[in-house]
Symmetry: C2
Subunit: 234 residues, 2 copies
């Protein structure tokens, strides 16, 4: 946990308000999702006036960004943990483990997942930490695919950029479906944690068996009509 070493409130001054506010915000997030966080309530829980937090955070967004950074640390940790438990030299197995670790964390921490995935609740671009950890995961994925290619598990002309994009989109989509509550409509018959593992395994299987022939076929044309901003074809 975000150890807030509070040196006892001395009366007027709090002592460690910044960290205490982050902890309060985390608590609020866990109780009722990102929308349950209000600066006032965080201040109240820290035993402080409603205006005090703004000495430490320029805005509510800044507070939630601090929460996101902690959440991202834990996600990175979970992924690293999943990787370290792989007892195989097969890079594809490791690749799948990343996805599995990501999904387990997202499903186990849905509200934190929502926060790090949002670009309206937090200021992602302003955080070196958030951008850096995200990029680290992406690099690891590319590394593993490169290894797989060297070992002949991927076609020599495999399209890494789109492969990584596809893998990320797939895992992100699964996580969001669970978190957004879309599972009842799309897969009611099984607990999400299990269905997600099976789907992931299916995806990895498909990825490694891409025949060069079909994947090199020309793309189907765009729909002839263009979409206007109301979704109508014109």
């Amino acid at each position: 946990m975000a150890k807030a070493k509070t040196p006892h409130r001395t009366g007027y001054h709090h002592g460690n308000l910044r960290d205490t506010l982050i902890d309060a915000a985390i608590q609020l997030v866990e109780e009722g999702g990102p929308d349950n966080v209000s600066v006032r309530e965080a201040a109240k829980r820290a035993g402080v006036s409603p205006g005090a937090p703004f000495r430490h955070f320029q805005s509510k967004t800044a507070l939630l960004t601090a929460v996101a950074e902690q959440a991202m640390n834990r996600l990175t940790e979970a992924v690293a943990n999943a990787l370290s438990e792989v007892d195989s030299a097969d890079p594809i197995v490791a690749f799948e483990a990343i996805g599995q670790g990501y999904l387990e964390w997202a499903i186990g921490n849905p509200t934190h997942f929502q926060i790090i995935s949002s670009r309206t609740l937090i200021d992602f671009d302003a955080s070196d930490s958030l951008r850096g950890q995200n990029e680290a995961i992406r690099r690891k994925m590319i590394d593993l695919l490169t290894q797989a290619q060297r070992q002949g598990q991927l076609a020599a002309n495999a399209d890494f950029d789109h492969l990584v994009l596809a893998a990320r989109a797939f895992v992100y989509g699964l996580a969001r479906m669970v978190v957004d509550g879309h599972f009842p409509e799309w897969h009611p018959s099984e607990p999400p944690s299990l269905a997600v593992r099976k789907a992931l395994h299916l995806f990895i299987s498909g990825m490694t068996n891409l025949s060069e022939a079909r994947s090199q076929e020309p793309l189907p044309p765009l729909s002839s009509g263009r979409l206007d901003r109301n979704g109508q074809f014109t």
Copy 2:
């Protein structure tokens, strides 16, 4: 558009406030996303007092649900349109077209996509229309996969449930990545509309070339440690 046939305001009564409010809400959504919608502002634009909308919508959620129903109509239309333009008997081509139509609509109408995908802004379960149209698309996907199987394009023991789940997750994930603004981090080199098409094609290729052997391998084990609600392994 949601033709609000307004029979002239007679002075006190509005005449067609319900539809007018929906239109105003749509306008607000298009201007600044779902968060830009406020009941008061919709009322103001309809030229009516702040309390009036509550005669027609029990809550803000109910108003947004009405917006979602209109958006869903257009999504269904876009998908149907994409399907009708397929000039091939290959069910896999049609399957890809559904994904392509979905993605084009989502990218072209990001805020409407956000609304129909949310389960907090709207009351999805309470709307027969929303549930029905969603289910119709899912059925169509299963139909096409069934045809593909009959024609030998999918393994005889193909796992339809998880295949449809995977396809849906993949397309949903791509759409959300675009809409949520994750593309700069994951695929900065290309316009999303193009990258998305390529990734989709890659996914479809992988799906149809699933070797039975690998996809029937046992699942890798769950991470040995369990995740607590803070994302820590215990």
